[in-house]
Assembly symmetry: C2
Homo-oligomer: 220 residues x 2
DNA sequence: TCTTATTTTTAGGTAAGACTAAAATGCTAA
DNA sequence: TTAGCATTTTAGTCTTACCTAAAAATAAGA
């Protein structure tokens, strides 16, 4: 059964909000994510329930089904592959790709995605460090932790961002934080959770807890 | 003013049917081209008329306006650039690109198209030999004539196909006709208009008048 | 427990884009 | 000039995806 563009967007939102299908999601949460009204979401949930990509119990939120997870991951795969294409081949900045990928992800052509994947050399991560599911929907997730959860003197490497908004990414560009950067926690202020980070063994960066919470790293 | 995907498709159809805006187009012609019913076309013509991309006089068909021509050419530009991308970069065959380009042409992002154009090295023609309008909608058209209009002993080069259907393109692949091939008319049968063509000074090709009429060449 | 507050659903509407059937218009040939 | 045919438009429906307002269900606090 095929999903419309709107249905794909809803399903993807539910997948993300449910943390990859590990918890149920409320109507209002979906409404906020999709930027639509709760009444519209109720409508759509009934339809997605009929198509059996979610399990819908009125008034109790939704859970994504195995089939739904598979579908959502297909869309996410396409989204992320297109993001890689835009950055690697068309010189888009990492803060410019999201809206365009949001449209491109709905193009229907298995051959296109297969060829794109191969053309990009089977990338494993998108420009924001998020893993790209394979064609069966399998994701090889790395253990990642937010910078604000690291302790003083710990070292690691930035591998992803939690917030992909243009505003946040532009800020990271400005201060010189990027995916792949080697980091070390120099200081952590008890009072407000702000941090001092050494980047690439040369540059010192001060950041609020809010910023730190949106940068993901692996420890080393 | 922005056009919907459906409106872009209609406008493009009208542009093509009107021979680039040189003649008016009937409701039924549009219906046949879009594969929809005349009643649906009437509806849409009213809408396109309101948006002033066509001039619509009930019962007398439509003429595309200057603004409409510009919009249609933007869509055609995007369609053909994507076709080049699919063939040159993703190894699609020339008979596999049309449907996908029909979707890709509606992605809204001027930056995307500008970058794609540059990435493809500013191609002037698509995989079927059709010219790619520049960003202002200017097309540098080559004088082309159908093979069936050439006389015995005339030489030339295949530059485009009139019919881009998969069936026709696959047939050309099979018999070894391709864009860029050097040709010479060896014989032309009075009775049915079928022709004998020498390709690349070595291969002889027999083709019906129907086939010949769908291959475009420049004389030399 | 009972009464509010919050969340969610339902009811009813709109707009786009398709359809069928019926009516209107234009064209052609007698 | 007009009857009949072909073309086109209108009228009335349908589906998808959104909306607002009102009703219903659930959750929370006294
Ligand atoms: Mn999307
Ligand atoms: Mn991303
Ligand atoms: Mn199209
Ligand atoms: Mn083409």
């Amino acid at each position: 059964m095929t999903l419309t563009t709107a249905e794909e967007n809803y399903l993807k939102a539910i997948y993300h909000l449910s943390n990859g299908g590990t918890k149920s999601v409320s109507t209002n949460d979906v409404a906020a994510e999709i930027k639509t009204k709760a009444a519209s979401v109720s409508d759509m949930l009934r339809k997605l329930g009929d198509k059996e990509v979610i399990e819908y119990r009125k008034y109790y939120g939704v859970n994504i089904t195995e089939e739904g997870k598979k579908r959502a991951l297909q869309t996410i795969r396409k989204h992320r592959l297109w993001e890689v294409f835009l950055v690697e081949k068309l010189q888009f900045a990492w803060d410019e790709v999201h809206e365009v990928a949001e449209e491109l992800e709905h193009i229907q052509s298995p051959l296109l995605i297969q060829r794109l994947d191969s053309y990009l050399n089977f990338p494993k991560f998108d420009p924001h460090g998020d893993p790209i599911p394979d064609e069966y929907g399998d994701v090889r997730a790395r253990p990642r932790l937010a910078l604000n959860e690291m302790d003083i003197d710990q070292s690691g490497q930035i591998v992803a961002v939690k917030d992909s908004s243009a505003a946040f990414l532009k800020y990271l560009d400005k201060v010189g934080a990027y995916i792949g950067a080697r980091i070390k926690v120099l200081d952590k202020v008890e009072f407000d959770g702000s941090m001092e980070i050494l980047v690439d063994q040369k540059k010192t960066l001060f950041m609020s807890k809010d910023v730190a919470a949106n940068i993901l790293a692996i420890q080393s």
